[in-house]
């Protein structure tokens, strides 16, 4: 019982992305856009879970620098299959966050 309850006692946030070029770019971008944070990358073959504690930001300019081409943040929507935490979606960035820390 306590085992499963413990799963809820987390502060993990971040995207769950279909594997591929964008996913690889996001893995690189989150390290740049969230300095000092530790990320856990879990590759499940069909999807990659990218997680850190509390808040995770992905910026458009970072994605563009990594991909070497213009990037509309909505392109993330093509492969964003799920996510942990709440989401804020702007033209300049996507942000995953929690408002309460457990």
């Amino acid at each position: 019982m306590t085992e499963a309850t413990d799963f809820m006692l987390n502060n993990k946030v971040g995207p769950v992305i279909k594997t591929g070029e964008i996913a690889d770019a996001v893995i690189e971008a989150v390290r740049e856009d969230n300095p000092g944070k530790t990320f856990v990358i879990e590759d499940n073959l069909a999807y990659v879970r990218i997680q850190t504690d509390g808040e995770c930001i992905i910026r458009r300019e970072t994605m563009e620098a990594i991909l070497g081409r213009p990037f509309n943040m909505q392109e993330l929507g093509v492969v964003l299959a799920s996510f942990a935490g709440q989401i804020e979606s702007e033209s300049t960035h996507f942000r995953f966050y929690l408002t309460r820390t457990l």
Binding site: M1, A4, T5, F7, M8, N10, K12, V16, K18, N44, L45, A46, Y47, R49, N72, Q74, E75, G77, V78, V79, L80, A81, S82, F83, A84, G85, Q86, I87, E88, S89, E90, S91, T92, L98, T99, R100, L102
Partner: protein, 506 residues
């Protein structure tokens, strides 16, 4: 060509509430269609959809998704994957397409109801895209399923199932009607998009996609994870509703909507996804168990988001956590036993190697379910065919339409629940299903379970063959053991194609 940033014009462009002068607010937005919580248009103005998208962006993103899904399918079409796939995996495809193609379509009126009757402009905007999403899910999955119709008649159920009276169809229709047709836009935004799409669809559309990729079915894996990317967006409609309701003192009512829907969807999804991941997926391609996917997507992710929005865990949370350990094991055994009533061929999934996997993932499995399968395997080996099929039906719940399951070899760990209402007794699988009925008996009193239909004479003759015909399942569609019982001979289990010894005399 330069465009304004969406953030610079979006809020103004979707500010489509106005003050009606020729009709009252309630005539424009009837409470039974719009908002049973009784909030005003002004209160709904605070609604802020977190996953914003413009129509231009939507069309661009969706065309990319479709190009991706169809091109992967086209590239792999000549690979003969299906013909070479394990019978258990073939069954997963039959199960998935039959259960989901037109269920997706039943979500279109739900999104459309929010698009017309939602009192928040942001809800109407996002639900318009949601309705288009659900049409896409129906069409693309029917298209993929159609490829296999020539392989097996059981794929016909992709289009046929929901217009039959099979137990699975009745359970699905009942849950979706209660979530969509019988609810106002605000409530259904919680029940459909939040409780179902932000929670349980992840199990089937991502958990199973992971197994599909391991099994080499990249076409299917890519298809269903693509579907889930739509869900990730429009499922955000409900979370924004919850914030408005909590801010306006409606937390208790919002919590109730979550609790009702979460339980109804859990009952459906352990039946659908549990056996697929823990029994039907060939062992070599499994990684996480169904329980581990629940811990990942439902406990660590969905429930955590629920708490972050300011709600509580459902009141039956402790029981939910316990049920993760047993519901789908008993459900799988029951489905295998009544396999003639389903449109796929259930793989028993209990060869020696598979049992070792189950024991590792669910300590104690052998001493509980393993012992039941021992008896079944013994009947197989001794040719006692009549013992491999039921002579009666399991009792079915008046809310979820599913059987009443518990843990075997623990005496009488099971129990029934019932409520006397009107002139009759309503029977339930669990305390939460009984609680749902007792909240609003008038809502549910006229719905007849399969058992009700049997006892009141709708099913004639009232036996197994009469029931199968009532379910509209014809020979060729009815399920059989996926591996022709090879698992019951331990020495053959790892090589189902090996020649089988002649059956021992009974």
């Amino acid at each position: 060509m330069a465009f304004l940033n969406r953030a610079d014009w979006y809020d103004l462009a979707r500010a489509t509430n106005w003050s009606p002068r020729y009709v009252s607010e309630d005539q424009l937005f009837p409470p039974e269609m719009s908002d049973r919580f009784g909030l005003s248009l002004e209160q709904w103005e605070a609604y802020d959809e977190p996953f914003k998208i413009s129509y231009r962006e939507y069309v661009d993103v969706q065309s990319r998704k479709d190009a991706d899904a169809y091109s992967v399918r086209a590239a792999l079409a000549r690979s003969n994957f299906y013909d070479n796939a394990d019978a258990g995996w073939q069954s997963i495809l039959k199960l998935h397409f039959g259960a989901l193609c037109l269920t997706e379509y039943s979500a279109v009126p739900g999104e459309s109801k929010m698009a017309r009757f939602g009192k928040a402009p942001g809800m109407r905007n996002m639900a318009t895209f949601g309705a288009l999403d659900e049409m896409r899910h129906t069409q693309i999955q029917l298209y993929f399923a159609h490829e296999f119709v020539s392989k097996s008649r059981q794929f016909d159920l992709a289009q046929k199932l929901l217009s039959t009276n099979s137990w699975a169809a009745i359970a699905t229709r009942s849950a979706m009607d209660d979530t969509i047709l019988g609810r106002d836009a605000a409530t259904l935004s919680i029940m459909l998009t939040f409780a179902l799409e932000q929670g349980f669809t992840n199990l089937q559309f991502l958990g199973l996609a992971a197994d599909a990729a391991r099994a080499g079915d990249f076409s299917f894996s890519n298809l269903i994870s693509s579907v889930q990317t739509d869900e990730a967006r429009h499922s955000q409609i409900g979370g924004a509703t919850l914030k408005v309701l909590i801010a306006n003192g409606k937390k208790e009512e919002a919590q109730r909507a979550v609790d009702i829907s979460f339980w109804r969807q859990w009952r459906l999804f352990f039946t659908l996804t549990g056996p697929a991941i823990d029994y039907l997926t060939p062992l070599a391609h499994r990684d996480k168990s169904f329980k581990e996917f629940i811990q990942e997507f439902i406990v660590a992710q969905f429930e955590r988001a629920l708490v972050d929005l300011g709600l509580e865990r459902p009141w039956y949370w402790d029981f939910f956590l316990k049920s993760i350990e047993f519901y789908h094991h008993s459900g799988h055994l029951e489905i295998w036993f009544v396999r003639q009533t389903v449109w796929w061929n259930p793989a028993a999934g209990v060869s020696a190697a598979e049992r070792a996997w189950l024991e590792a993932k669910y300590p104690g499995w052998n001493a509980k379910w393993g012992r039941l399968w021992d008896v079944i395997a013994d009947n197989v080996r001794h040719g006692r065919t009549d013992k491999l099929y039921p002579k009666t039906l399991p009792m079915l719940c008046n809310i979820c339409g599913l059987s009443v399951g518990s843990i075997p070899h623990e005496g009488h760990s099971n129990r029934g629940y019932w409520t006397e209402f009107g002139m009759r007794r309503y029977y339930f699988c669990s305390e939460p299903c009984q609680w749902i009925f007792n909240l609003e008996p008038l809502r549910y009193q006229d719905h007849k379970s399969v058992i009700d239909r049997l006892l009141c004479g709708d099913i004639q003759p009232p036996d197994i063959e009469g029931t199968l015909r009532y379910f509209d399942l014809m020979p060729g569609e009815r399920g059989e053991d996926a591996h022709d019982y090879a698992w019951a001979w331990p020495e053959l289990a790892l090589d189902p194609a090996a020649e089988r010894p002649s059956q021992e005399a009974a």
